[in-house]
């Protein structure tokens, strides 16, 4: 399980590492982090493109997709016009890719892998080989998912939630989806074990739990969520796979009649069982997405306000409480499945309770600005925008968490608006902030501020133009996942808003071009950083050489103080790093 044996041989043959060992099957957490980041960014872009195609169909239903419409097969887009099956594939895969192949691998696999060992002063992850295995299980999982577009009948098309029985009777792409998911889940499990052990065992001397940077705390709690919430989905995946391949009926009740023909199965299964197992993961999953984002934002906010985070301990307790509560709110996704009063009251109550730590975290972050000396660089812009965007996402969760309001809003665009505010302008902005923030440590160069600011402002406008109208569309009653909402009178009524939203989405697409240009340009020709600590930050990752070598630290790091000692009265500079002896 551990790699000590190889470490001996590596110590001798340090310079003779082949290209493959160094960049492909690397055991170095930094290389693995970069591998995760690059593949996750690629998947994010792919998922984003699926969304942009969907937005065309939503805005102009039944009209041929301009320019690229003819690239697709006759089965998917005859004459450049999307068919409903293909629309459903795009929808299901957009969700799956963004959540399981984009955001989580970027937030946990990318940032977690690269930053966490550096921030706790460790030479590497606790199990480097396991870390490598985690990536090389993730990638095939991703490839299987993408490849499923080319199997007969196309990719999974039952939504990212893959509700049974629809998913049970869906074409072969669903089987690929399940197999891909099992790979992705396994990868996450391996990663989370590694993260927890690393955090518990490999902290530098003096780095007690309450001196950990908030980002490490967020990753630590996230890892527990992944570790304990993912296995039930894996079990559910196995059961659905059995249903599809071995003819069992775990999720199929007796007496189903599919298009006029009785389904020949034994029956006796429960469609709601799938929902329970799925949401047992998928609700904690929301916090898997949001917690690392909060961690990144906290780092950047502390650094750029030049003062300690307000209420560090409160933040830590809140994040632990959030993680715990996230396990017992899941059935608020199932209020409309015929749930009685007792359970719905329980889940409403837990849902209301879980909003409280979120409010506390937001308040603490906002109070951190008071009395600061705020620098508005690109990472900071993205990070501070996270806060109001997440606030909108969080607040709009309230009506959905109350069953009475949910009676009207359930499964409408209001839901889409709500969780996209949490995930897209929320989490994704935080992740972009993280890329801008840690880029100098990885490459030794800064990203262009000019391009960064264009990227930021266009993204901010684009995001809000896409998602803000969704609240109105949802309030009007339009269901989600509709291929053509103008079929309904109330959908036709708000069609203009959908069209506006689509232009917002394409603007958002244009904004990302600046980001891609910035990334490529800055890797080769960005402004070189003069010091190892260009942001004048306090946490341990800035104590390493730039970029950090194998083994990370040139000397064994030692920690003397709390993580965010900025503007300490009487100190000689406005930041006193954790690793600095004097101060």
């Amino acid at each position: 399980m551990s790699a000590e044996h190889d470490h001996h041989s590596e110590a001798h043959g340090h310079h003779e590492q082949s290209f493959v060992q160094k960049y492909v099957f690397s055991v170095d957490h930094k290389v693995i982090g970069i591998q995760y980041t690059i593949s996750a960014l690629f998947f994010l872009l792919f998922g984003f493109c699926l969304m942009m195609m969907m937005r065309w169909q939503l805005a102009y239903p039944g009209e041929a997709l301009p320019l690229i419409g003819t690239w697709f097969s006759e089965a998917n887009m005859p004459g450049g016009v999307m068919v409903p099956e293909f629309y459903n594939q795009l929808g299901a895969m957009h969700g799956t890719i963004m959540v399981f192949m984009g955001v989580v691998p970027l937030a946990v696999g990318g940032f977690g892998n690269y930053v966490l060992p550096l921030q706790i002063g460790a030479p590497d992850m606790a199990f480097p080989k396991l870390n490598m295995a985690s990536f090389w299980v993730f990638l095939p999982g991703g490839v299987i998912m993408l490849a499923s577009f080319f199997v007969e009948g196309g990719a999974a098309q039952s939504g990212w939630t893959s509700y049974a029985p629809l998913a049970n009777i869906a074409p072969a792409g669903q089987t690929w989806w399940l197999v891909g998911m099992i790979f992705l889940i396994t990868s996450s499990l391996l990663g989370s074990i590694n993260f927890i052990v690393t955090t518990v065992q490999l902290r530098a001397e003096g780095l007690s739990y309450f001196r950990l940077p908030f980002f490490v705390w967020a990753q630590f709690v996230t890892s527990f969520l992944l570790l304990l919430a993912f296995p039930p989905l894996e079990a559910a995946g196995i059961l659905q796979l059995m249903d599809r391949v071995a003819g069992t009926s775990f999720f199929l009740p007796a007496g189903l009649v599919i298009t006029g023909q009785p389904l020949e199965v034994a029956g006796g299964g429960s469609p709601l069982l799938w929902q329970h197992l799925f949401w047992f993961l998928a609700h904690p999953e929301v916090y898997v997405l949001i917690l690392p984002a909060m961690g990144i934002v906290s780092e950047i906010v502390a650094n750029n306000t030049r003062r300690p985070l307000w209420g560090y301990r409160t933040l830590v307790y809140s994040v632990i409480f959030l993680g715990f509560m996230s396990f017992i709110v899941w059935a608020h996704h199932m209020f409309m499945t015929g749930m009685g009063t007792a359970m719905s009251t329980f889940f409403q109550a837990t849902t209301m309770i879980i909003s409280i730590p979120s409010v506390i975290i937001l308040t603490a972050l906002a109070l951190s600005f008071h009395g600061g000396s705020i620098r508005f660089n690109t990472p900071m812009l993205f990070a501070l925008t996270f806060i109001p965007m997440f606030a909108i996402g969080g607040l709009t969760g309230l009506p959905l968490g109350l069953t009475a309001a949910d009676l009207h809003l359930h499964d409408t665009y209001y839901v889409i608006g709500h969780f996209h505010y949490v995930v897209a302008p929320g989490t994704v902005f935080a992740l972009l902030a993280g890329i801008y923030y840690w880029f100098p440590k990885v490459t030794g160069r800064k990203m262009s501020e000019g391009l960064g600011k264009i990227h930021f402002w266009l993204s901010l406008i684009g995001m809000n133009v896409v998602f803000m109208p969704m609240f109105s569309i949802g309030m009007a009653g339009v269901s989600r996942r509709l291929y053509d909402q103008t079929q309904y009178a109330y959908g036709a009524q708000v069609q203009e808003l959908t069209i506006i939203g689509s232009y917002g989405a394409w603007l958002l697409g244009v904004a990302q071009i600046f980001f891609i240009i910035n990334l490529i340009k800055s890797i080769r020709g960005g402004e070189k950083v003069e010091s190892d600590n260009p942001w004048q930050a306090t946490t341990l990752e800035w104590a390493t050489p730039t970029p950090p070598p194998h083994g990370n630290f040139t000397e064994v790091p030692k920690v003397y103080r709390d993580p965010y000692e900025y503007s300490v009265p009487g100190a000689k500079s406005d930041f006193t790093p954790q690793f600095s002896e004097e101060g």
């Binding site: 409309m336 600061g372 109350l402 009207h408 359930h410 309030m475």
Partner: protein, 255 residues
């Protein structure tokens, strides 16, 4: 006509229970807006007041924030009020207090890919037994041909006729996958789960024709699974019933 029913916010409400829901949604949004604006003003104030140009040295000590504590306590109390005062009464009325079968108009709705089969009991007021093995293109509900109660039953597809101002008790099932019966003007969503029969009820307060939508992805025709809710006066409803019963056959063969 449509302009008045549907707009950019909550559509017209035609249900008895919808008023409280609208009230909850509106109160909630005022609360959310107040919270967001108040908090946003503070946030933007901080950003401007404490920009590095205006405040070159940051304060190390945390500010004493009594107000934030009060705000947090207020949020907790208000959420408790929303939950206990507004949300739960509606829900328990909706789920626990089903109207007595004697006073309600009972209708069965059976969802399938991609249509709503509406089952009326016919002249005798008794529903015939349904079972999946009897489903044919001519017998979409799967009525048991041997059950005499079902002889005068009739069904309509995608057309739900109900009388105004009377409790309507619907028993919802699905033949194949999960669907969701949604009528925005009734402030109503209810999943149809195959293998389960779920009762729910509403009382319409205005006459008119409104859309029924499917709110749960059910396949390629999900977006087209549209039904029509016809809320009629008692007299019109009875006339419609009589017309349907007449059209049904008299027990002989029909193809």
């Amino acid at each position: 006509m449509q302009q008045e029913v549907y707009g950019y916010w909550l559509p017209l409400n035609v249900s008895a229970h919808g008023e409280v829901i609208d009230q909850l949604i509106n109160v909630l949004h005022v609360f959310m807006l107040a919270l967001f604006v108040g908090w946003g003003v503070f946030f933007i104030h901080c950003l401007i007041r404490y920009r590095s140009g205006a405040n070159p040295t940051a304060t190390y000590d945390p500010i004493k924030a009594k107000l934030s504590k009060y705000v947090e306590i207020f949020v907790v109390v208000f959420e408790a009020f929303l939950l206990v005062g507004l949300s739960m009464p509606v829900w328990s009325q909706f789920k626990a207090d089903l109207p007595a079968e004697s006073e309600a108009v009972e209708i069965h709705v059976m969802a399938e890919q991609f249509a709503w089969n509406v089952h009326y009991p016919g002249a005798d007021g008794v529903f015939g037994r349904k079972a999946p093995q009897f489903v044919t293109p001519e017998n979409l509900l799967g009525l048991d041909p041997d059950d005499t109660n079902g002889k005068d039953d009739f069904n309509s597809i995608n057309n739900l006729h109900v009388p105004v101002n009377r409790p309507i008790l619907i028993r919802l099932t699905s033949k194949d996958v999960i669907h969701s019966f949604k009528v925005p003007v009734l402030r109503l969503t209810q999943d149809a789960i195959p293998g389960q029969e779920i009762p729910f009820w509403f009382e319409a307060t205005k006459t008119g024709g409104f859309d029924i939508a499917c709110a749960q992805l059910c396949g390629l025709g999900h977006y087209r699974m549209r039904g029509q809710l016809n809320i009629q006066t008692q007299a019109d409803f009875e006339a419609w019933l009589a017309e349907q019963v007449e059209e049904e056959d008299d027990g002989g063969f029909a193809f």
